[in-house]
């Protein structure tokens, strides 16, 4: 049904989305914890920066990532100085861009879920001499589990559906930066509509299955708390 080139893009997309989701949970959780607990004046600005990718058009964001990660940009100068070279046109460049781009979809559900727990269970745990790490793993994580699940599924799905950013910084290199969405776009632009329909159909079925999982796994109440519109 799919050509080898199509399968390569599917494998690459799943690999990208998996790595990005793991990184997002590792980076996004401390940010969400801090946002849910802090009284610092920095809370507003940090929330705004995390949510920024929701506002900026992806190709615009991608263009400025291209500039920032290029040899003249501040990120590019930094990555070159530590011997990594520049990030555009590499798989890890896509990973970095996707982490930034999908951040709000991971931070916000976790943030909301932690805030919904309130401080009382944590205070109770503290009186039982549970340390901060113990409190996180035995109180926060179980109680906020639906939030974490939503975050993981949305982060994964959003990275699979990502297009504009990848288009701008990827360079369309097979096996490295050519993901499914770019492949579909190429088919449409080349007027090869039958190929486009096949791959797009698979993507539609995939996103339906993902979102169906989201609904089935933790019901409607958790969703109501963490309502987020995917673009």
């Amino acid at each position: 049904m799919f050509s080898d080139a199509d399968i390569a893009t599917i494998v690459l997309t799943l690999k990208l989305a998996t790595i990005v989701t793991v990184l997002l949970l590792l980076i996004g959780t401390p940010i969400a914890l801090w946002l849910a607990r802090t009284r610092s004046w920095l809370k507003g600005p940090v929330s705004a920066i995390v949510a920024m990718p929701l506002v900026l058009p992806p190709t615009v964001l991608g263009f400025y990532l291209l500039v920032a990660m290029g040899p003249e940009g501040f990120v590019g100068k930094f990555t070159e100085s530590i011997g990594l070279g520049t990030l555009p046109f590499t798989f890890w460049g896509l990973v970095v861009a996707s982490v930034f781009y999908s951040m709000p979809f991971v931070v916000q559900p976790i943030h909301n879920a932690i805030e919904a727990i309130g401080t009382r269970p944590l205070e109770a745990a503290a009186t039982l001499r549970a340390g901060p790490i113990d409190r996180f793993f035995s109180v926060v994580l179980p109680l906020a589990k639906p939030g974490f699940l939503t975050a993981a599924i949305l982060g994964f799905a959003h990275t699979v559906g990502e297009f504009g950013v990848v288009l701008m910084i990827g360079g369309n290199i097979p096996g490295e930066t050519r993901v499914v969405s770019v492949q579909i776009y190429d088919y449409v632009e080349a007027l090869e509509y039958a190929n486009a329909h096949r791959l797009a159909g698979a993507l539609v079925m995939f996103s339906f299955a993902t979102l169906l999982c989201l609904y089935l796994v933790h019901g409607r109440s958790a969703l109501r708390r963490t309502r987020i519109t995917n673009d």
């Binding site: 290029g70 040899p71 701008m168 360079g171 369309n172 776009y185 190429d186 632009e189 080349a190 007027l191």
Partner: protein, 254 residues
């Protein structure tokens, strides 16, 4: 009755100040030619008093729009195959195709003195990445591949290719310094007959299939006098001079 009269006056007052017989037509243009067409259209509007609305996108997107009923009167494509397909799909006026421009390809770097006439950098592989437009989608991309083939550098450079979806993106990759050099359209680095910066090699036309860009009249423009006038204007010497100043060549008999 008086209120209707007043309404009529109000509408007249708000109406855009057009001359009595000014018409508006809609024209779709391939993105790479849009800056040139805007200049041509400004000239045409000045002399004719008519209005031309210009929409730009890639030739592939415009094709999809036209097939699905977009109300454009004429289409300036970046290639010949898209207009041919539209004609055989019955969406264009048969026999209205004309070659309005021939694209010139350039190998360009944003760095001054990077590219020399001997192409040492390219032949010795002393560059990080080479940008080109996707050869499957853009005539400039497939021309670039032909050039690399002729120079016997296809396999040597392939690992360093980065492909833009179109020629504009190939230009961005080079302009931002992410690719040391790239094959772009001469029109992108040429303004009013001058090269805007960096270093370049103008690819000899015999190294690739000519990049012929065709325009055509679409069905909504079939009986439009203004569309016909615009096409005649595009063939004029004044229009050709403008097209050439943007780095394209023109044909004697389009």
């Amino acid at each position: 009755m008086r209120s209707i009269h007043r309404l009529y006056l109000a509408v007249l007052a708000l109406w855009p100040p057009l001359s009595a017989n000014a018409d508006t037509i809609k024209v779709a243009v391939a993105a790479n030619f849009a800056p040139t067409l805007n200049e041509l259209v400004a000239e045409f509007e000045k002399s004719s008093g008519h209005i031309v609305d210009v929409s730009s996108a890639s030739s592939g997107k415009i094709y999809a729009q036209i097939i699905n009923g977009a109300p454009y009167h004429a289409f300036f494509s970046a290639d010949q195959t898209t207009p041919e397909k539209l004609e055989s799909a019955g969406k264009a006026v048969p026999g209205s195709r004309l070659t309005y421009a021939i694209g010139a390809l350039a190998l360009w770097s944003a760095k001054p003195d990077f590219i020399d006439a001997q192409l040492r950098i390219l032949k010795n592989g002393q560059f990080n990445k080479i940008a080109l437009a996707n050869p499957k989608l853009a005539p400039y991309g497939s021309a670039a591949v032909e050039v690399l083939e002729k120079l016997d550098l296809l396999t040597a450079t392939q690992a360093k290719w980065v492909q833009g979806e179109n020629i504009a993106q190939a230009y961005q990759f080079v302009f931002t310094g992410n690719a040391d050099l790239g094959f772009i359209a001469l029109s992108q680095i040429m303004q009013k007959g001058e090269i805007t910066g960096g270093s370049y090699w103008l690819v000899p036309a015999d190294l690739h299939t000519p990049i012929l860009q065709d325009a055509q009249i679409l069905l909504p423009g079939k009986n439009s006098v203004v569309t016909q006038q615009l096409v005649e204007f595009i063939k004029s010497d004044l229009a050709k001079a403008i097209i050439q100043s943007h780095g394209y060549q023109t044909v004697d008999k389009p």
